[in-house]
């Protein structure tokens, strides 16, 4: 997974030994710091509800940095989606010797058409995010496409910064 926003660029690879958790390694280029670092990350599924037409998930996420500032983070991620609608949220706390900050986001979206398995799937979304470094909510449109093993999500926030999320299922 490749991720980029106004705070950082990162490349993340994870492996799921069980559906309950995954372990991963993330290479992070923090835009507001000079030092790149590596996160060892862990994601744990706290709750999942599957129904015929929906899925709801709640995850606990944490990471420990190899950088020199004893940096770590933890947070919650959640989503509920049907084939037509999506609602997601996240809240993370980042701690280090250099600084502490939190990030939150909420994202809603809908699929303008329902594709079959293997088709190109498209989503129109709105994302709103905030860090307490600026204490402002930044709200912007996001589009998401996926087909086969590839997923691409991107938007441009209010500060003209690219918010990019690219995933490949191996």
């Amino acid at each position: 997974m490749i991720f980029s926003d106004d705070m950082m660029d990162s490349a993340y690879y994870h492996y799921s030994p069980s559906y309950k958790y995954s372990l991963g390694i993330e290479l992070v280029d923090e835009k507001k710091q000079t030092e790149d670092h590596v996160y060892f990350r862990h994601t744990y599924l706290l709750d999942r509800k599957n129904t015929q037409h929906s899925q709801r998930n709640l995850y606990f996420q944490s990471g420990l940095s190899t950088g020199g500032n004893d940096e770590y983070f933890y947070g919650l991620l959640g989503d509920w989606e049907t084939r037509r609608y999506f609602i997601g949220f996240g809240a993370q706390e980042f701690k280090s010797n250099a600084r502490n900050y939190s990030k939150q986001f909420i994202q809603i979206g809908f699929a303008p058409y329902l594709g079959a398995y293997g088709d190109l799937h498209s989503w129109l979304m709105v994302k709103s995010k905030r860090t307490d470094l600026t204490d402002e909510w930044n709200t912007y449109p996001v589009v998401k496409f996926f087909k086969g093993d590839y997923l691409l999500e991107f938007g441009v926030d209010e500060n003209d910064k690219l918010d990019l999320h690219f995933m490949i299922r191996i």
Binding site: S16, S18, Y19, R48, K49, N50, T51, Q52, H53, S54, Q55, E81, T82, R83, L114, G115, A116, Y117, G118, D119, H121, F146, K147, G148, D149, L151, M167, R169
Partner: protein, 141 residues
């Protein structure tokens, strides 16, 4: 009308595998479903739906092979369901798979000689994040 369609399209090409206790549902009857689908109520009161045309196409070149008809909940996203296909592709005897996001059905064709275990299929789909609510193993003829 659709009841008849079910027997015309499905029954000539499939039979329940003899002596195979994979199905959670031991008996069923077909009745009218919505457009293009056949709904089946099982003796325990649960129901399933199959897209008849899709099902017919899937089994058309599978004579002699086993067909697992798996009812799945939580299968709302193509990208997420992709893992199901990747998992079963590694199985010995795997032939092909079809995922119907609309009805929550996964059809998996295996070689006649493949040893299929319900629990194994359930676990593989659970590991991908979805939940199995019913499995039938049929044999294409």
């Amino acid at each position: 009308m659709r009841f008849s369609l079910f027997f015309i399209l499905i029954m000539p090409t499939l039979t329940l595998a003899e002596g195979n206790s994979h199905s959670k549902h031991s008996d069923h009857s077909a009745h009218h479903g919505h457009e293009g689908h056949v709904a089946m109520d099982y003796v325990d009161g649960t129901a399933t739906e199959l897209d008849v045309e899709r099902f017919g196409k899937f089994v058309a070149d599978q004579a002699g092979n086993q067909i697992a008809v798996v009812s799945v909940t939580g299968m709302v996203c193509d990208f997420c369901a992709r893992g199901i296909e990747k998992t079963f592709q590694k199985d010995e005897g795997f032939k092909k798979i079809d995922v119907d996001l609309e009805t929550g059905k996964v059809l998996i064709a295996f070689a006649e000689s493949a040893k299929l275990v319900n629990q194994d299929i359930e676990q593989k789909i659970l590991a991908n994040g979805q939940t199995v609510t019913g499995i039938q193993i049929l044999q294409a003829q």
